[in-house]
């Protein structure tokens, strides 16, 4: 066991010190940071040129507008000449001149582009409310009359938001899960196959097998790679939580997060569940296959070919999920949710869809764990022979030969 740990940590430390691993781990954060940074810079520079100024001879009228619609206004500009200069210099999108002529409130907008529908409605509503207020004062109505005139109709919306969001959550969770699993599988299948194949190209294996058993070494290798995966998942969980926290307080992302809160929470709920275990076990069974492929190549130069069978199986399983994205109750989905390699995709999808029972999940997990144990034992048993064997047959020939023998 001690030697298994030695191999495990050696494999782990050797891999995590590589630039490729560092970039792989930090890639999403760099992308997120870059996007956030660019959005912030773009928003900041666009902010001033999208502002409006309000000009009025009537200070109460101007203040009333600023008080009711302060966002997006440049309150420093108070005269028409200042506003014209600012518009010309592209520091202002336009200016609104508010005036009172014979008890009638008037608004004149000057700008390089027309007001948007929302802005126009905003201005119109303000003018109407202010005019109504002025009319009320001028008409000298009693409080009761004022209350009658202020009476407005009611429009209530009764939408079942939960079911609508739930569908969106399922679809988004489906895509997020299959894509994440696919990326991790392909990445680590390649790393595993190349790591094992590179070993095979060296006579160092003879020295290692004179020091420890092949099974112990194999378990150590796979353990080292699993530690890498756990490191990546841990970094993503911690980094993701920090980014989520930060985005929740960011002016740029807060509106998006607020309006999609239930969707995001739904996706997170689907991930931070037993599906995470399926994701991990799915990666384990695929890297076992990748390790087996890696052990079959005849020389180190063939390391890049070693991952091919696993990558192809990974692609097959990934694409098999596509036809069922809107039909997760189909019979093939139920069958495939018990078949190792496929179950890592299909059972989580059934869980996301809520169309499976706890017993079905247990049975599927038992089959998957049994397949992993059988695979590990089988490879561990033949690992020494495979690693020390030098065979000029191609990887495919060896795979087919082994299948028939």
């Amino acid at each position: 066991m001690t030697k298994t740990w030695v191999v495990m940590f050696e494999t782990y430390l050797r891999q995590i010190k590589t630039w490729s691993f560092l970039f792989m781990i930090l890639g999403p954060f760099l992308m997120f940071g870059l996007t956030a940074g660019l959005s912030y810079l773009s928003a900041d520079s666009a902010k001033s040129s999208q502002q409006l100024a309000v000009i009025s001879q009537s200070a109460p009228l101007r203040q009333a507008y600023i008080k009711s619609h302060g966002d997006g206004l440049n309150t420093k500009i108070t005269t028409t000449s200042q506003a014209k200069k600012a518009v010309k210099a592209n520091h202002l999108a336009g200016y609104l001149v508010l005036s009172v002529d014979k008890q009638q409130i008037r608004g004149d907008f000057h700008g390089t582009q027309a007001l948007s529908g929302g802005q126009r409605a905003q201005v119109q509503n303000f003018l109407s409310a202010y005019q109504a207020q002025a009319n009320t004062v001028q008409a000298k109505l009693t409080a009761k009359q004022q209350a009658v005139l202020n009476r407005t109709p009611t429009l209530a919306s009764h939408i079942s938001t939960k079911s609508g969001t739930a569908n969106a959550v399922k679809v988004a969770s489906f895509w997020a899960f299959v894509t994440l699993l696919y990326i991790i599988l392909i990445t680590y299948s390649s790393i595993t196959a190349q790591e094992i194949a590179a070993d095979k190209g060296t006579k160092l294996m003879e020295v290692i097998f004179s020091s420890t058993t092949a099974t112990s070494y194999f378990v150590g290798k796979i353990g080292g790679i699993l530690l890498m995966i756990l490191t990546q998942i841990a970094v993503y969980l911690v980094g993701g939580a920090a980014a989520y926290q930060w985005a929740g307080n960011s002016r740029t992302f807060k509106p998006f997060l607020t309006s999609n809160r239930s969707l995001i929470d739904g996706i997170l709920h689907n991930f931070l569940s037993i599906n995470l275990l399926y994701l991990f076990l799915g990666v384990v069974i695929f890297i076992l296959l990748a390790a087996y492929s890696g052990a079959l190549v005849s020389k180190a130069e063939d390391a890049s070919k070693a991952a091919q069978p696993t990558v192809m199986l990974g692609m097959l399983v990934f694409f098999t999920t596509f036809p069922f994205q809107n039909n997760l109750d189909a019979i093939p989905v139920k069958i495939l949710s018990y078949v190792p390699f496929f179950s890592s995709y299909f059972m989580p999808l059934r869980l996301i869809n809520g169309t499976t029972s706890a017993w079905e999940v247990v049975i599927s997990l038992v089959i998957l764990l049994a397949a992993i144990a059988a695979g590990a034992l089988m490879i561990g048993k033949h690992y020494q022979r495979l690693m020390l064997q030098n065979d000029n047959r191609s990887l495919w020939q060896q795979l087919l030969h082994r299948k028939h023998s």
Partner: protein, 298 residues
């Protein structure tokens, strides 16, 4: 003691080992010689359980098991290390796999590097070392945990005479520590210089086995080294002389078909007078090797 009893191994139609038996006692060095393909590496692979074989191999009266791993130091025929590691990382990693902690190994590294005159520091990357220095680092990896059973497959291959001497000293030091050592070599000079016993394989069969003197004496003292003013023709005319090889000036090497002819030739050459050199010896290991290989072609 390593004991190999009646081991046989067949690869498809090729009989790689055929009823091979020998022992390597503690504190002794056994040289395994033979042509390429004679079965030397297959013997090593059998000892290390890399291949399935018939027969029995025991180490200290028990079959080799996981418990024996830490006793073994193995140097494969082709050298190989992890190029991206530093010398220290490589040595510590392999020593830990041999059950020796990093804490014990690290303080020894500089001493071993100095002993083998490795051009590089403990922080030098393996890939930056010359082939010869990489080979020396691999030797250090084989020896640093003080193995009790040392298996060296062609250890002198690729080493210059100076480095070969350094390796010889290290092997002798391991022997003095009580290790049982088995190594293969094509260089009979190294075998003669180091081995207490030797085994020669041909087509997987043991054709010679014993101490160096026993093996040489099996062939009789059929060589005479003499320094005389006789001509080569006169020497060839002597009874039982089958071949005369002229060396430098008056030096000749005579091959005899009967070792008992020595005293008569001595009398004929000296007539009771002083002679500078007269030495009757068995054939050298190199000659025995050629002789045995030659038998196959006859």
């Amino acid at each position: 003691m390593l004991s190999i009893q009646h081991i046989s191994k067949k690869f498809a139609t090729v009989q790689a080992l055929d009823d091979v038996s020998f022992d390597v006692p503690d504190g002794q060095i056994l040289g395994l010689i033979g042509q390429n393909g004679a079965g030397k590496s297959t013997t090593f692979h059998s000892i290390l359980n890399f291949i399935q074989f018939e027969g029995q191999i025991t180490w200290r009266d028990a079959p080799l098991s996981t418990d024996s791993f830490d006793d073994i130091g193995y140097l494969p025929e082709e050298r190989s290390l992890l190029p991206k590691l530093t010398i220290e990382q490589q040595i510590v990693y392999l020593a830990r796999l041999k059950g020796q902690s990093a804490k014990t190994t690290r303080p020894q590294i500089d001493d071993w590097l100095e002993r083998f005159n490795v051009k590089g520091t403990r922080r030098s990357k393996i890939k930056d070392l010359s082939k010869g220095n990489q080979q020396k680092v691999q030797l250090i990896c084989t020896l640093i945990h003080h193995p009790k059973l040392l298996i060296l497959d062609e250890p002198f291959s690729g080493l210059d005479p100076v480095n070969a001497d350094l390796l010889k000293q290290a092997i002798i030091a391991a022997k003095n520590e009580g290790a049982a050592i088995i190594f293969s070599s094509h260089d009979m000079e190294h075998v003669t210089a180091l081995c207490d016993r030797l085994v020669m394989l041909r087509h997987g069969k043991v054709v010679l086995h014993g101490t160096l003197d026993d093996v040489r004496n099996q062939f009789g003292k059929t060589q005479l080294s003499v320094t005389t003013d006789w001509s080569a023709a006169d020497l060839a005319a002597l009874d039982h002389v089958t071949q005369v090889i002229h060396g430098h000036t008056n030096h000749y090497l005579l091959h005899l078909d009967d070792p008992a002819a020595g005293p008569a030739i001595f009398d004929a050459l000296t007539h009771g007078h002083y002679i500078e050199e007269f030495s009757q010896q068995p054939p050298t290991l190199d000659e025995i090797f050629r002789l045995k290989v030659g038998e196959e072609h006859d």
